[in-house]
Symmetry: C2
DNA sequence: ACACTATCGGGAACAGTTCTCAATCCCGTA
DNA sequence: TACGGGATTGAGAACTGTTCCCGATAGTGT
């Protein structure tokens, strides 16, 4: 479900709801994020599209993050990683290679996710914490590095 | 199990194994981390012990991180958070308040953790990823902020 | 006590990211 | 199509959390 056209329309709407335009530079960023098939750092985004100025890329990623189009991941790999918001792709978690710092996506399936939600609900409500969403990072060694 | 004396002895050993001494400043840091009862930022550590110079605190936290005594958490809250390594305390996860940025600990219990390990093993081995450990962040609103 | 090395502390340096601001673009209107 | 006005852009400066540097100090083994 959801063609590239759908994606761009949705992005345009969300930006518009925040009083923002869906400019060329922003479209390029979205396309780069789609093409990356996983979280990417800003330097990597710039490598893919040499014409994007750094400051504009940072600014537009921030704008799109605030509009709910982009999600920013922070790990101790030096740079932040960017990906499309989960509701534009699908709920997933991250595998983080401790050797090379690469981050890739992983899905756990509905049954596990439902069990997780229930466990989290039980654990957090006891602490008076109002849980809204979660993210799971699995650390280890990726295929490339274990070779 | 594990008194304060045990903790200090273990820390001393781990540092010693890395050719490092367990100096006064490092002991103060460990005590501050124990007293904090959860992940703390460096500025907060310094507030608790005004005599600790910033550069030494950063350096010693790094040394202790490398010796497996301290764990450093990165989130988009501005500062890194520090806590004692899990094997000096217990396996837990983090509740992160999206309003105030506070981070607190939460435990899920053995049954849930075992189920998680199994689910992660299934999901990662298919991707050829060699999983070593995991961390779960639950985002939402803490007790203070929802009041 | 001595020599030798690890550690300390203050400040400079660094890196990723954000901010500034004049120039440009884009949209709605006529 | 031309115009007015606000959003966006891009280059570089500024900012901020963290790390590095280095002379002074403290601890350890002999």
């Amino acid at each position: 479900m959801g063609t590239a056209l759908d994606l761009h329309r949705t992005v345009r709407e969300r930006l518009s709801d925040h009083g923002q335009r869906y400019t060329n530079g922003r479209q390029e960023l979205v396309e780069s994020l789609v093409a990356a098939q996983g979280p990417v750092t800003l330097p990597n985004l710039l490598l893919a599209r040499r014409t994007l100025p750094q400051s504009s890329a940072y600014r537009n990623l921030l704008v799109m993050e605030q509009a709910g189009v982009v999600r920013r991941l922070i790990h101790n790999t030096g740079h932040a990683h960017y990906e499309l918001a989960e509701d534009l792709t699908s709920h997933h978690h991250h595998l983080i290679c401790e050797s090379c710092g690469a981050i890739s996506d992983i899905e756990l399936g509905n049954r596990v996710e439902n069990a997780l939600d229930k466990a989290f609900e039980d654990a957090t409500s006891a602490a008076g914490f109002n849980a809204r969403h979660h993210s799971i990072d699995i650390y280890g060694e990726c295929v490339n590095c274990s070779a």
